[in-house]
Symmetry: C2
Subunit: 233 residues, 2 copies
DNA sequence: CGTGCCAGGTGCCGT
DNA sequence: ACGGCACTTGGCACG
């Protein structure tokens, strides 16, 4: 396996060579004093500070400070170029849609690590998808005698999680939420229910989730919609 | 200023010392072969691969692969401990609310950088806040003769962006969106408008944004709500 | 602390 | 490409 390359206090001309040579080939990590400018959907300035700058193989640019999960600035899928200036080393990361630019002005000689990162298999359980599957396979948890009609069915107003048919032949629209169901969840359900009613189809609607906010429950009841408490371990 | 400490192929016992000594003091960055397990609101496994592991001063844990803006696993504000095993070095990051655990099983001797990251001033323009301020200071862009009544006013159903009073003494609820207004935005507006109508207050509602999706516009019109195209440079 | 909501959200999948 | 939506969303502000 390729070893990491670790370089201390890299000269800007060398840094420029590194970026030319390793951009979209390896991951380049820098520790440096820098100022960051962003211009695009919004625009921002982050004043000079010591930060962690990451250029991934796919052109992702991440700029992290010492706290927080989120980067202070970033650029997905960018074309990154560099310029050696008088008083700074300039990193320019451009993406076209939306048209956005991030510029990093590096003020010192950064420490640089060049390395090859991999990608493992990633599996996750406990997503909304799992809850949908559970309801689809066990419609009776929503209502005794209900049968599966459709799963993740696309309408012009969004994708209905599950559609069931009750024993007395009514359609039941189910909106699943993996966490706390909120006002938005209720509105989604309202949207789907109204869509079917406007098509002249008699439907009921229910939310299935481990819990629901009080306001959301009130809105549900006001619209004569149902709630099913549902937790999958 | 403190220099970065750069260490190659660090022995696990040394790594444990480093983490004990520098956790919540400095930022620790590792390049290593690892497997990652997460258990909490959901649960996941990322199979063995070479990854970038970051432990920030505030206890943030980030695990990045070679592509994408988002980390494959993470843990905000965690308590991080470590264990030296037979065949791996184990990193355990726990947070209490919600109760979640991320475990990193490091399989090789990692390269490690210990460094002090700073935090600069961050300023941004072009947010929804800016749009709200603009409307609040120039109510006539929504309707000629309208006057400001309230800004970011909290109701049980959420925070109303702007409330204006028209020249014929009707209240106008304004929901601002910095980007494309979507179905959710319309539903927010519907919620606020209904709230006031149920209080017996006659109100109108408008969305102000640079653009709106066709479905959202249809929903607006169906509910007799207005749209104002509004772009602040 | 829960509830709501913005975010340069990102990522995924659909038409 | 646009649109709708989930996400271990994170982060903030307010009741």
């Amino acid at each position: 396996m390729l070893e990491d390359v670790v370089l201390s206090r890299v000269d800007w001309l060398v840094l420029q060579d590194i970026i030319r040579k390793y951009f979209r080939v390896s991951t380049i990590v820098m520790f440096c004093q820098c100022e960051v400018f962003y211009e695009g959907r919004a625009s921002s300035r982050a004043s000079e500070a010591r930060r962690l700058v990451i250029i991934k193989e796919d052109g992702t640019l991440l700029i992290h400070e010492g706290v927080g999960v989120e980067p202070v600035n970033w650029q997905p899928n960018a074309l990154i170029t560099s310029k050696v200036g008088e008083n700074h080393f300039e990193l320019v990361a451009v993406r076209s849609r939306p048209k956005e630019v991030v510029k990093v002005f590096i003020k010192d000689k950064p420490d640089v690590i060049i390395c090859k990162l991999g990608s493992g298999k990633f599996s996750i359980r406990g997503t909304e998808e799992d809850l949908i599957n559970y309801v689809a396979q066990n419609p009776s948890v929503i209502e005794e005698g209900a049968k599966l009609v459709a799963r993740e069915f696309a309408t012009p107003h969004g994708r209905v999680d599950v559609i069931l048919r009750s024993s007395n032949d009514e359609l039941i629209i189910v909106e699943c939420k993996r966490g706390v169901a909120d006002l938005d969840a209720v509105h989604q359900l309202i949207r789907y229910v109204e869509y079917y009613r406007e098509l002249g189809i008699k439907v009921r609607g229910v939310i299935a989730s481990p819990s629901i906010t009080p306001q959301a429950l009130k809105l549900l009841q006001k619209n004569s919609l149902g709630y099913v408490k549902l937790q999958i371990t």
